[in-house]
Each structure stands twice: as C-alpha cells, then as structure tokens.
C-alpha cells in the first residue's frame, strides 16, 4: 500500500503533486527530508525567538539581553530562556523583579538602554 501512504502524506500539495504518483512520490520524499532537517532547526529557531522576546522585555526596563543574562548567571539563577520569555510575556511583575536582581548582581547594568519613547500619533479624521 505504498502508493496509498504516499498520497496520504501528499495532502495539500500543489497541482499534480497531490494526484499523480510519480510527482507525488518526489515531493513527499522532499517533504520528509525537510521535516528531518527542520526538527533540528526548530530548536534553534525557538531559542532565537525566546532571546528576542527576553531582549524586548528587558529593554522596557533599560537593560539589554546580554547584561541581563550576565547578571543572572552571576547570581546562579538557572532559569532557561524558554521560561524567561514566558515570564516576560505573562508575568511582568516577576520579570521586573528578575531584571532588578540582575541589575544588582552586575553593576554595569544601570541604564544601559533607554526604553523606547512613546510618541502619540495624532489621529486625522
């Protein structure tokens, strides 16, 4: 039943790749190769996303990501980036507490980054 399995995996493909076995088999093999590679890439992409989110969260408190992580490592806090990004999104008060801890642990942290100024855009009707 290999053709049946191939067509099951080829659902949603474009054009003849979902209907004709010769083309579907090629496209399905390529799709499976991409998924093998991307299961490894997903770990890298997620870590990059977490770091971007942590960076954004700390810059609201005028600290950048590098100094923030340095302060946490100095203080032996072993929270990983996944949890730190979740805290920066959903628990702003706890995240501010962590930023303060990092600032105390690493004194080069005072006002490294200026938080973005909020500009009020006049609404034209």
């Amino acid at each position: 039943m290999n053709k049946k399995k191939v067509f099951n995996l080829a659902k949603g493909f474009r054009g003849r790749a979902k209907n004709c076995i010769r083309i579907a088999r090629e496209r399905v093999e390529k799709a499976l190769q991409y998924s093998y590679r991307d299961r490894r890439n997903k770990k890298r992409d997620m870590r990059s996303l977490w770091i971007q989110r942590i960076n954004a969260g700390t810059r609201l408190h005028s600290v950048n990501y590098g100094n923030f992580m340095h302060g946490l490592m100095k203080d032996n806090i072993q929270l990983n980036r996944k949890v730190l990004s979740e805290l920066s999104m959903h628990e702003p008060l706890s995240f501010k507490a962590l930023v303060d801890i990092s600032r105390n642990a690493f004194p080069g942290n005072k006002n490294v980054v200026h938080p973005p100024r909020k500009v009020s855009i006049p609404v034209s009707v």
Partner: protein
C-alpha cells in the same frame, strides 16, 4: 529490563529526575479551583512554568504508574500576585504536587534519510514515550485570599524575596 530491587535505588533515580513518588490514594480531594500562583519547576533538563490545574507532558518517568502522586522538588521560581520568590538555583522549601495522568506515546514522526543519485534511502518511524502530569498544588508561597487585602511580606535571610510592586 534492569531490576531496581532496593527502594533506595529507586529513590536515587527519582532524585535525578527531581520527583518523589508518593502513595496513590483514592478519596483524596486534590483538585482545587484555580489559584493565581505559578511556579517554575525543573524535571530532568526541561523547565516548565506551571500553575494549579495545568497539565504538562514530560519525558516518560520510569518509576511511577498512572494515578500516582508525585512531589516535584526542584522549584526555581515561585510567583503570586504580590510576591516573587527567586531561588539560587532552587527554592529549598518549595514543592509542587502533581498526579500522573497517563503514560502515552507521542504522534509518529517519520525519519527519512535520502542521498540523491546514490541509491540510498532509509525510512524509520518513531514514537516518543511521554508522561502527562496534572499539577494539583503549589506550596512554598503565600496564596492570595480574595477576602483580605494581602500586604507584601519582606522575607528572611537566605533567599532574597523580591517584592513585586502591585500595579
């Protein structure tokens, strides 16, 4: 199948995964309504931000059956609406209680390797073993009660509690 005959060996392996198996009991009122308290707990090498009533999928834990009560004792952070307790690295007196809901297999992933024009193609299927835990209780932090106004408490010596400013 290696036989872990003495129970001390089970306890050691459990300590590596940061779980202690408690007895399973019926007629125990474990499932409380939602409390606005969260904890960051570490199981193996994965960390989770959990709250009351959450369910998490972890790698399959070896020495527990379904409907076992677990105590997760590697807690890295505790938080509520008024306090945050940060551990360095763990908070020693904090525990998170959980119940094993099921041991299950993950969805199948197909591992497909191909080298083009070299007549090499390999296919393999894989299902990872997982354990689903339901978090029942978080202990080690004052839980805010809705009736009284809670004042933020400055803590004692070892672990510096960070008092979060209530907005």
């Amino acid at each position: 199948m290696r036989v872990y005959s003495p129970e001390e060996k089970e306890a050691e392996a459990a300590a590596i995964g940061y779980k202690v198996v408690g007895p399973l009991q019926e007629s125990d009122q474990l499932f409380k309504p939602y409390e606005p308290v969260f904890a960051v707990v570490q199981i193996g090498s994965h960390q989770f931000k959990v709250s009351n009533g959450d369910s998490i999928f972890t790698e399959s834990l070896k020495f527990c059956n379904v409907n076992d009560k677990l105590i997760l004792n590697k807690v890295l952070l505790l938080g509520s609406t008024t306090q945050t307790i940060v551990g360095r690295p763990t908070v020693p007196t904090a525990t998170v209680h959980a119940v094993v809901e099921e041991h299950a297999l993950d969805a199948k992933v197909i591992i497909f390797k191909k080298k083009r024009r070299k007549n090499y193609r390999r296919t393999k299927g894989h299902r990872q073993e997982l354990t689903k835990l339901r978090i029942t209780d978080i202990q080690g932090i004052e839980k805010p009660q809705t009736t009284e106004p809670v004042k933020p408490v400055k803590a004692a010596v070892k672990k510096p509690e960070k008092v979060a400013v209530a907005a």
